[in-house]
Assembly symmetry: C2
């Protein structure tokens, strides 16, 4: 098989999947994910979008027998380069597998194909009075298959947990081109090892997830955002720790550091006093009565030292706040044309050290640095502003990332709270894990993917059964 | 090495672990678990209780080099024979590893050794205003290591999920006698494959869990049990489904079928009208205000067709109800001297079929049958009353169990909701899972346990790298 869009590759794929499933490989849609802001992109040999599991099985069997790597792709909103075809191969988009296989609102469950977007899933649930609490952002683009493959988190994970907690079963095509079904609509199952949980968060390296069974819960009647601003990092972090100490349980508990505030102050809905340099946002939810009670409690807890304290309950104002929130990455990137965002997590009592450490690393490298994220879970999105056309900037940011990972591990934390290792953190695999933990993971990889075709080079930095060509793009 | 309590075995173990760690192997404490009620017991070659991880590592290294099986043991409250030394080997009790390594109530987390009892953990949490919601029963005996190894559930899993949802990290000694640490106090981590989740529920077949990091949550201010009685199964199951339809979210949603009510009616606290033949108990919790609101809502939902409806809020009355609940197994077993309890789970809309199917199987085999369990999770503890001294009874119950498993799988469910496969359901491994799913699990087993010494013969019915001697006790 000649690669890179050769006539024989195209005709083989069309024969396997139908001509409608073979997309233009020159489309820029499929050569990057959200790491484009740090200049990461690749060039696929082909882009396909199977319309059903049978096609997916044929494709994977063919890739295995021809030793061609397969790069599974959801909405392309990943932050670790997991879906970027850095070394070519066949990008397998799940976008056409977007059927709702079964929706049983009266029993709080749904079975969807991988290509259903997070927004559609949440809207479907909402329309039946139900709720899927995991909202990792970019919900219109991101797909439930990608959310599952990365074990996506997001703000509401503080109260509701990450994607893994909501997946009761899945189907995936694994090595050998066979479809593995693990779990299903039943809510509890301890019969075997947790293969479902293993595939959740495997970043396309163990197989391609084709459908997912999810638990849902009754929708909260009311959600209220409580916004508190402080003059400094210390005061804000103390407020966050008071939430813990008070035993309050908001659905979200987010922080935004001084650099982040500076970059987005003008876009903040409503007025933000100029002495605010650190923001805490806690969403409370529940029944009308419970949410109002929680609002009062959180306001009391956040009040000391605050220079801004207000609540936002109506849908329109909360949507404005959401838009501000989801625009932060772009606003920060806009300052110098790009950003390198890392995603560390640590025990919550080390939060202040992580925030200060991020700024210090930026100072030392002379790169503007800021952070925001899921304070309640100790999950910090530490970010360097870069000019992505300047190689020296990207190299500095790389060095900064390495120091951030050392910082996180030194604080008893981890190098990825919710974005995964993907391509950009693949080297951390060998640093984060002991030799034994590495060996066990590589043996699991080999059991699921004996041919080594599933997303080679990602997540497991030391995995070498597939020998990659020279990457076409610098990291 | 001569086995079976020989002088050389004893002296080897004393040299490895200290004399205080080698317990009397003739003690009946270590030859059975809760499956004793179906006549299951074994005879260990030795019983040891290491006092720390270093000893545990030495023990496991020694077992591997001598090819002697190791049967890890928590509180011995398991329902699947997982901790029973049916084929001899060394029982490794975790009872002396019962230290609280770190407790940070202000950050809602605790790090405990495997031998800490569930009750002690819950009491510690409570004393600091916190809550560990998983309560699989027999809390005074059961240990957190065993809870973790079996991914224990229990009534509160309806709202709060099973053990896996609360474990943020663990230490385990795996093959090679090396200690594996996975996760820790950080609440989110997607750096590698979910080795933590894989060890949770592995029933001692992948290694011995030595310590566990747990998330806790602020304790609910109030818990109220709402009790509703019905004249028949159909009316009761309809009430349970109405809870779903109403979008109510009690912490527990339990059912007790006619046979179960008959066996325990006299012990029920307060009066139970004679026309009650099916009971639903839903515990609601939350802040004082939220719990009272939920109580009213649940009462309204459960009211239609009920012949008994009352709430129990004070601690003493709820404890009485708890004692009745935890005595059900014994009360049912007392009727004929024993019981064989199975633990199936299915989609909640198939609950009535599972309850009726259990009774029908009993009728066909002429064994009294009843069921109770976690209705909200579709988790049914289906039980046959037997005379455990009568071989024919045990054989009939075995046949009944097989039919129950067929029933569960036919309803789209699973052969174990929360008890595991252990020894008693080991044959179900080959039935429940596809060839591919079996192969993957066996490869995982082999990666963690290349010598095959960890609890051989349990959970993975087809695992044969350890060749067991003829079992000393019939199943």
């Amino acid at each position: 098989v000649k690669l890179s869009g050769s006539a024989s590759l195209d005709s083989d794929l069309k024969r396997l999947l139908g001509s409608g499933a073979v997309l233009s490989r020159s489309s820029e849609l499929y050569n990057h994910d959200s790491t484009e802001l740090q200049a990461l992109s690749g060039e696929p040999d082909a882009v396909v979008a199977p319309s059903d599991s049978a096609g997916l099985r044929r494709l994977i069997g063919w890739c295995e027998s021809h030793q061609i790597p397969i790069v599974p792709r959801g909405g392309g909103t990943g932050m670790a380069g997991g879906a970027v075809p850095l070394d070519g191969g066949i990008v397998c988009s799940l976008e056409r597998m977007d059927r709702v296989r079964a929706f049983d609102p009266e029993f709080w469950r749904i079975h969807v194909e991988a290509g259903v977007t997070t927004a559609r899933l949440r809207d479907l649930a909402r329309a039946s009075g139900l709720y899927f609490p995991v909202d990792p952002g970019a919900a219109e683009q991101s797909q439930i298959g990608g959310n599952t493959a990365t074990n996506a988190g997001g703000p509401h994970s503080f109260k509701y947990g990450v994607t893994r907690h909501w997946v009761t079963g899945l189907e995936a095509v694994v090595g050998g081109g066979t479809e593995l079904r693990s779990g299903g609509p039943t809510r509890k199952d301890v019969a075997g090892y947790d293969l479902t949980g293993l595939l959740v968060g495997s970043e396309g390296t163990l197989g391609v997830i084709s459908s997912v069974w999810l638990r849902l819960i009754p929708a909260p009647e009311l959600e209220i955002a409580v916004i508190a601003g402080y003059g400094g990092i210390r005061e804000g972090v103390q407020a966050i720790l008071r939430v813990y100490a008070a035993g309050a349980t908001p659905a979200t508990l987010e922080f935004f550091d001084p650099g982040c505030i500076e970059a987005t102050r003008a876009a903040f809905p409503g007025s933000m006093p100029h002495d605010v340099s650190f923001l805490v946002v806690a969403n409370v939810d529940g029944t009308e009565v419970a949410a109002r009670q929680a609002e009062t409690e959180i306001q009391e807890v956040l009040a000391p030292d605050s220079v801004l304290l207000r609540s936002v309950a109506d849908r329109g104002s909360r949507a404005q706040l959401e838009r501000w929130r989801s625009g932060i990455g772009f606003a920060v990137a806009a300052r110098r044309g790009g950003k390198v965002s890392e995603d560390i997590a640590l025990p919550v009592d080390r939060l202040e050290e992580a925030i200060l450490g991020t700024i210090r690393v930026g100072d030392e490298l002379n790169l503007p640095a800021c952070s925001w994220g899921h304070a309640g879970d100790g999950n910090v999105h530490a970010t360097f502003e870069v000019d992505r056309t300047v190689t020296a900037d990207l190299e500095l940011a790389d060095a900064g990332a390495t120091r951030l990972f050392e910082l996180a591990l030194g604080l008893g934390g981890t190098v990825s709270g919710e974005h995964g290792l993907g391509w950009v953190k693949r080297d951390q695999f060998g640093i984060r894990f002991s030799k034994d933990a590495q060996r066990l993971q590589l043996q699991i990889k080999h059991a699921f993917d004996p041919s080594g075709v599933f997303n080679p080079g990602k997540k497991l930095g030391t995995y070498t059964s597939w020998s990659p060509r020279t990457p076409r793009n610098p990291e």
